[in-house]
């Protein structure tokens, strides 16, 4: 009996699918895996607080203390191996359950961990320098650049005015011819 390649692959895929189906628990409760210790840190089932957009928005402003540099939300959902961020998440949830507003929760974290608990420094005092120095520097450099360019162009214009009269051939060229020459040079110089 000959079996086409496509037929063989279809049978193989069906067998694999059946094998996967066999491992399902069906309608009953899930069974234990062979060695739970190999599956990383045991997890608690997801709660409404874990996926709450308001909680996530707060956590995205707060830094995890594990040293990863990520915010609490990103850290606790990155590969779920951090042990710090789930605790910090619980702390956020507890504060929210106490009726604290987002700002009060953030303030509570700052009071406990200091300003470095925030993903970006608050916009006051010396921190303002953090936010505005780069933009100011670019602005000042931009103004300086424009003034320098103006000075250069004025100097170039002055030199051109003081320069000896052009050679006879150039003097005889019409503006249209000069423009054409300029365009050609421009095209050739790439």
């Amino acid at each position: 009996m000959s079996v086409s390649r496509r037929g063989f692959l279809a049978v193989l895929a069906g067998s694999l699918g059946a094998a996967v189906q066999d491992s399902l628990a069906g309608s009953g409760p899930s069974g234990k895996v062979w060695d739970p210790s190999r599956a990383g840190r045991p997890m608690a089932p997801t709660t409404a607080g874990d996926t709450d957009a308001a909680i996530q928005a707060i956590e995205k402003q707060l830094k995890c203390t594990c040293g990863c540099g990520l915010d609490i939300y990103t850290c606790r959902t990155t590969d779920f191996t951090c042990t710090y961020s789930p605790e910090l998440h619980k702390q956020v949830l507890a504060l929210a359950a106490d009726g604290k507003t987002a700002q009060e929760i953030i303030d509570a974290f700052v009071a406990q961990y200091g300003q470095q608990a925030l993903m970006a420094p608050p916009k006051r005092g010396f921190n303002l320098a953090g936010y505005f120095v780069p933009s100011l520097a670019v602005l000042v450099a931009g103004v300086f650049l424009v003034r320098t360019l103006r000075r250069w162009t004025r100097a170039a214009a002055g030199e051109a005015a003081a320069a000896p009269p052009p050679a006879a051939a150039a003097r005889d060229a019409s503006p249209a011819e000069l423009e054409r020459l300029r365009r050609e040079l421009e095209r050739l110089s790439g």
């Binding site: 996967v20 491992s23 399902l24 628990a25 409760p29 899930s30 234990k32 895996v33 062979w34 060695d35 739970p36 210790s37 190999r38 599956a39 990383g40 840190r41 045991p42 997890m43 089932p45 997801t46 874990d50 996926t51 830094k63 040293g67 990863c68 540099g69 990520l70 990103t74 850290c75 959902t77 990155t78 590969d79 779920f80 191996t81 300003q115 470095q116 608990a117 993903m119 970006a120 420094p121 921190n127 953090g130 936010y131 780069p134 520097a137 670019v138 450099a141 360019l149 103006r150 250069w152 162009t153 170039a156 214009a157 423009e179 040079l185 421009e186 095209r187 050739l188 110089s189 790439g190």
Partner: protein, 673 residues
């Protein structure tokens, strides 16, 4: 072998010192015997460092766990592929890798530099020997890769699981190659300053090197982004981490240099600026090394904290003071040969482009160092994370994207109003058209609108440039348009390859904008249960948890979860995501369990599934499901950028340029066929 390796390091150190002294003295006094000796010292240093590298590799492949470095970064069951990468996985090995590659580049610079630039070579030998000798010194006195333990462990600790990824095998060396190769243009710049030969010759001599550095840095950054995306599991590719920033800084400065150098080559202007840029780029590469290795700023990427940071800090300060002092003494020799004739010219647009590149570099550097500054000034350590960097850099990045399109449209010297109208009409109309389409389609995110709209504008400028050039060839040589376009590219690789790089940048910006629309959810599922998530395009994804399987692989225990995906009710494939517990040759756990994400990549969006863990050791699994729009275009944009860079770099491209001098400035005429 380790004794031999250690002796090779000492040999490299002594030869490097000799090369430095003879290079500088020979160059300054014009003594050919010393110049020749410096050249030989460069080759000898390379040989000694290759020998040291071979010795360390032999120790790694022999599983000589009495060597501290081998025990710390490898194990008996580490796949061979990753044994190679163990060479640069740790602080000490990477220093050896760095020094060896630098000595290779130094030797290549001596061999490949053409005869008319030979005057620079003694100084180049001196500078490269100083830098390489510094790295060897750090190894000999603070981080010896051949250090032996008092006992021999049965097995090593193994390689960090997150480094056991193909991306991580290629990402660090690419980045190192970029960092290291900047030393060659820097060495030529110092050579030009010392020899007072400050015309365009040193730029011509280093043109390929600067491109090579830029390209390696770009590839290294892109591979790092890819690794972060496929391995770390947070669903992003850039987190403004200090070490990421440190790698971006020299790339930004090199990109500015690659633009401004054209102004010096064509008009003899910006000599001071270009020298300052190349010195700055090299100092930033050393600064990046200092950041990565000192532990002065906390980063997930840093090597273990050690004393080498002090060496790098001192070297950085001495090199900065030395380089800029020399630079200052040569300023009178660096006057421009021509004057800027108009504010509306290609030269001026390149200067504004440089302003933005350096502005972004400064803001990244400022944000990276601000926590230290804050602690010094106000005694409070603050965190400067993505919100800060995005706020400062997105507007600058968008302005830069706009200039990417504007620059090539403006003529050299002076652009006339009719010329501007003719050049800008189609690109501006295209950009506005794209913007209107997006607005009508309901997009309201300002950043994304600007990025995609400007992307349309820049793309139109590139197409227009190709179309005009191809039409000109078609008229002149009666070539079919497609052939004319190809020949146009082949004959002027620098210009049109650069345009292809611009297309790559556009693709990257548009893809970055896509991340503003990512959607995600978290769910706990029993086998057979499903969770749903709507994508930014409106598709409804259904994720069904099929089950958990556990099995052993070469150096790890694997717990794999299988998820079936349906899009709008139709089957869309299956994804596997894993928890891995790495073990040594004796089956002992070596690191904390790590996670492997499941990714289904598409042109429009990526489906990204992360197994969080299991509930009470059952098959009930916690998942995070994410839809990341346009990520595929980040990698494709990266390919385009690299291809464009390679086209620019490729040798040849028509007959040699004919140099002419007209009206007091140099104009390069590319002979046309």
């Amino acid at each position: 072998m380790t004794l031999l390796g250690h002796l090779a390091l000492w040999l490299a150190f002594l030869v490097g010192l000799w090369g430095a002294v003879t290079g500088f003295v020979g160059g300054l006094q014009g003594r050919t015997d010393l110049q020749q000796s410096a050249r030989h010292a460069v080759f000898a240093m390379f040989g000694a460092l290759v020998l040291a590298t071979i010795c360390l590799e032999v120790a790694i492949f022999r599983h000589d766990f009495n060597v501290e470095y081998v025990a710390a970064y490898t194990s008996r069951n580490l796949p061979t592929f990753y044994l190679w990468s163990a060479l640069y996985a740790g602080q000490k090995g990477s220093l050896l890798f760095w020094a060896t590659v630098l000595s290779l580049f130094a030797a290549l610079a001596q061999l490949l530099t053409s005869g008319r630039h030979r005057a620079y070579l003694p100084f180049v030998a001196g500078v490269t020997c100083v830098v390489a000798t510094f790295f060897v010194m750090v190894m000999l006195f603070a981080a010896n890769p051949f250090e032996r333990l008092a006992f021999t462990p049965v097995d090593g600790r193994g390689l960090n699981p997150q480094l056991q990824n193909p991306g991580m095998v290629f990402h660090p060396p690419m980045l190192y190659l970029g960092y290291i190769s900047i030393t060659i243009p820097f060495a030529f710049a110092i050579a030009a300053l010392l020899s007072k030969k400050l015309d365009v010759d040193w730029l011509v001599a280093t043109r390929k090197w600067t491109l090579v550095s830029w390209l390696f840095l770009a590839v290294g950054l892109l591979l790092g982004m890819w690794w972060a995306y496929v391995e770390l599991g947070w669903g992003g590719y850039w987190a403004w981490d200090p070490v990421e920033n440190a790698a971006l800084l020299p790339w930004l400065v090199m990109t500015a240099f690659l633009h401004s150098v054209m102004v010096q080559e064509k008009r003899g202007m910006l000599k001071k600026w270009n020298l300052a840029l190349i010195i700055g780029a090299w100092l930033l590469s050393i600064f990046g090394t200092f950041i990565t290795r000192s532990g002065v700023i906390s980063s997930v990427h840093s090597f273990t904290q050690s004393g080498v940071g002090y060496f790098f800090l001192v070297f950085l300060v001495v090199a900065a003071v030395g380089s800029f002092t020399l630079y200052a003494t040569r300023l009178p020799l660096l006057e421009a040969e021509a004057k800027l004739e108009s504010m509306v010219s290609r030269e001026a647009s390149f200067l504004f482009n440089n302003l933005l590149f350096i502005g972004i570099a400064f803001s990244v550097l400022w944000g990276t160092l601000f926590p230290i500054l804050s602690e010094l000034v106000q005694g409070t350590k603050v965190t400067v994370g993505p919100p800060f960097f995005n706020q400062v850099n997105i507007p600058l990045g968008l302005a830069l994207l706009a200039l990417t399109g504007i620059g090539p449209l403006i003529a050299w010297r002076r652009a006339s109003l009719p010329n501007l109208r003719r050049q800008f009409a189609v690109p501006v109309a295209t950009g506005v058209f794209v913007l209107l389409i997006l607005l009508v389609a309901g997009m309201r995110d300002v950043g994304a609108l600007m990025a995609i709209g400007l992307g349309g504008f820049v793309t139109a400028t590139v197409i227009q440039e190709f179309a005009r050039g191809a039409r000109a060839r078609h008229r002149q040589y009666a070539e079919p348009l497609a052939l004319a376009a190809v020949r146009l590219l082949a004959r002027n690789r620098r210009r049109y390859g650069g345009y292809i790089v611009h297309i790559g940048i556009v693709l990257l910006f548009v893809a970055f904008a896509g991340m503003a629309f990512k959607t995600e959810t978290q769910a706990t599922l029993r086998p057979g249960e499903s969770a749903t998530l709507r994508s930014p395009y409106g598709h409804l994804y259904t994720f069904t948890h099929l089950g958990i399987s556990q099995y052993d692989a070469l150096n790890r225990h694997v717990t794999a979860a299988l998820v079936e995906i349906r899009r709008d009710g139709k089957p869309a494939g299956r994804l596997k995501t894993e928890k891995r517990q790495h073990v040594d040759g004796l089956g002992r756990p070596t690191f904390e369990p790590s996670t492997e994400v499941g990714i289904q990549s598409g042109l429009r969006e990526d489906v990204y599934v992360v197994l969080g863990g299991l509930v009470n050791g059952t098959e009930q699994a916690v998942y995070r499901f994410t839809i990341n729009p346009l990520v595929w275009w980040v990698w494709f944009g990266g390919y385009v950028l690299v291809v464009g860079g390679l086209i620019v770099l490729w040798p040849g491209g028509g007959p040699p340029a004919v140099r002419r001098t007209q009206a007091g400035y140099a104009v390069k005429l590319e002979a046309q066929r």
